[in-house]
């Protein structure tokens, strides 16, 4: 009956692992909420960093993330369409597909260094556009992957039916196939947005940070994540508190977008 004991032990350990995992989640979320909510005041939202608030940082982070999305979505979706609808299983298609997949796990700090060399050094100043490009570079492979996979789920009969009615390939792709995959593709975009809005490393030496409210992407640009990094290392209590407030708000935003994305696809299933 040693087998039964061993079985029990392993299953118990596995359950404990799961509880540990959940435990960490709750530990982090609870401490974050506790510290974060305690540090939030009205001025947190109305003031800019220079005055102890995060208004300009929220606006800045969102602005860069949105601009990155505007760049990455057309590129990523079109690329995904090419791979799945025109690619025809050629070698080139497999290579691009695989490389894009690998890029989704590439170290984000290296991308920051790359964009620095390309867009900061030649212009002599940190600038918001460099941050936007760095974020876009991270988003594109993710969107390519999700678009590719979602289009693959569309049954081939739907394409055939469209062609059988006299649709051109482009019409069938845009009006039928993409429409059928609409929910999945949109969720992929949403989730990639949630991923990059929380990124810090690609922004450190591209858009850097800005204490003041600014919408000028040609100069240093305010960032919520970079600010948290800086604030956490300052010795004074006020900075520490602001870092917690910012962390809480950032996490709330990211988790909210994630939950929305999952909720939408759950209904699709």
């Amino acid at each position: 009956m040693n087998r039964l004991v061993l079985n029990k032990v392993v299953l118990t350990l596995s359950t404990i692992s799961a509880l540990i995992g959940i435990g960490f989640l709750f530990w982090i979320l609870i401490t974050l909420s506790y510290k974060g909510i305690a540090s939030i005041q009205l001025s947190t939202f109305t003031n800019d960093l220079v005055e102890g608030g995060i208004r300009n940082l929220l606006v800045g982070q969102f602005t860069m993330a949105l601009m990155a999305t505007f760049i990455a979505v057309p590129l990523g979706v079109l690329a995904g369409i090419y791979l799945r609808e025109y690619g025809e299983n050629s070698r080139m298609t497999s290579i691009i597909r695989s490389l894009s997949d690998v890029m989704t796990s590439a170290p984000s700090i290296v991308i920051g260094v790359f964009v620095f060399a390309l867009m900061v050094e030649p212009f002599g100043t940190y600038n918001g556009w460099a941050g936007v490009v760095a974020l876009a570079i991270m988003m594109v492979p993710i969107i390519i992957g999700t678009t590719d996979n979602m289009l693959a789920l569309v049954p081939k009969e739907l394409r055939e039916a469209g062609i059988a009615l006299g649709g051109s390939k482009k019409q069938v792709i845009m009006q039928i196939v993409l429409k059928a995959a609409k929910v999945g593709v949109t969720t992929g975009i949403l989730l990639s947005f949630a991923r990059i809005i929380g990124e810090t490393a690609p922004l450190l030496f591209t858009s850097a940070n800005n204490q003041f409210f600014s919408m000028d992407l040609t100069d240093q640009f305010p960032s919520l994540t970079v600010s948290i990094y800086n604030l956490a290392t300052y010795p004074d209590e006020a900075s520490r508190e602001l870092a917690w407030a910012a962390s809480f708000i950032l996490t709330a935003i990211v988790l909210f977008i994630n939950l929305v994305g999952r909720y939408v696809t759950r209904h699709k299933q």
């Binding site: 025809e88 049954p155 009969e157 739907l158 394409r159 055939e160 039916a161 469209g162 062609i163 059988a164 009615l165 006299g166 649709g167 051109s168 390939k169 019409q171 009006q175 039928i176 429409k179 059928a180 609409k182």
Partner: protein, 266 residues
């Protein structure tokens, strides 16, 4: 059967077809004539090539590059009354034109993710029809011809995905019929449906042949003998026998046909 009212609208001549990457042709020297306003059935055991042959008739194989055709498929041009080889068509707009004349209904109902109205109007809009009242008229007629107007008329703007399987299939038929094709190809249209829906569709097809020529692939022999005027029996890529349905089922000329009909294989 009176021979005078027989007019050939499609003539398959010595057709060979090879799938991309296949070592051998799936269709071997197929010869077949489709007659106007008649229902022609293609029957045979799994893998005999009946769907492959049907799908060559609207060149839908071309979706998957690398397919090879040999021989001819002549299609009657109603304006010039001459036969033109549809295998010669190369350009995308020529193929689009072909498919507007030779429509196809699939085994699995394929409603597009849009409203019922938009589904039926889809092919019409593709062909350039923009006038709203004309579209409305064509959509209504198509839905009536497909015997689904009553069920659909109060739900035109609702998603087509809310219809039942049998209704969806009739919607697909309406969609194709809206284009006023000369020939409609049915690829096992009822095998995914329940018996009642199957009956409704069979009735519909019989009605449709008044205006449209029909070719239907079916693995259900009873269906073939109920519906069709002409039957083609295929086996392993060859056309074994092609004749009037009555003859095939009552007194086939080829032994293999007889064995299939009487259930000795397949």
């Amino acid at each position: 059967m009176e021979k005078q009212d027989l007019k050939a609208v499609m003539d398959v001549k010595d057709l060979f077809f090879t799938y991309p990457g296949a070592p051998e042709p799936t269709l071997k020297k197929n010869n077949l004539t489709i007659y106007k306003n008649k229902i022609t059935a293609l029957i045979g055991p799994s893998g005999c090539g009946k769907s492959t042959l049907l799908r060559a008739m609207n060149r839908i194989h071309d979706l998957y590059p690398g397919a090879q055709y040999e021989g001819k498929i002549d299609l009657l041009n109603p304006e010039t009354d001459k036969m033109e080889n549809l295998l010669d068509l190369q350009k995308e707009d020529e193929l689009i034109g072909l498919r507007q004349r030779v429509g196809m209904i699939f085994q699995k109902p394929t409603p597009f993710p849009m409203s019922i109205y938009d589904n039926v109007a889809y092919g019409l809009k593709l062909s350039g029809l923009k006038n709203k009242s004309e579209l409305d008229g064509r959509v209504e007629k198509a839905l009536k011809d497909a015997a689904i107007w009553k069920e659909a008329k109060d739900r035109l703007k609702e998603s087509a995905l809310g219809l039942s399987g049998g209704q969806q299939q009739r919607l697909c038929i309406a969609r194709s019929v809206a284009l006023k094709p000369e020939i409609l190809l049915f690829d096992e249209p009822t095998s995914a449906l329940d018996p009642i829906s199957t009956g409704a569709i069979e009735e519909l097809i019989t009605e449709l042949k008044k205006d449209i020529t029909v070719a239907i692939v079916t693995h259900n022999m009873q269906q073939a003998s109920r519906l069709s005027d002409y039957t083609t029996f295929m086996y392993l890529g060859d056309i074994i026998e092609f004749d009037e349905t009555e003859k095939i089922f009552v007194n086939p000329s080829v032994k293999l046909t007889e064995e299939y009909i009487t259930g000795r294989f397949g």
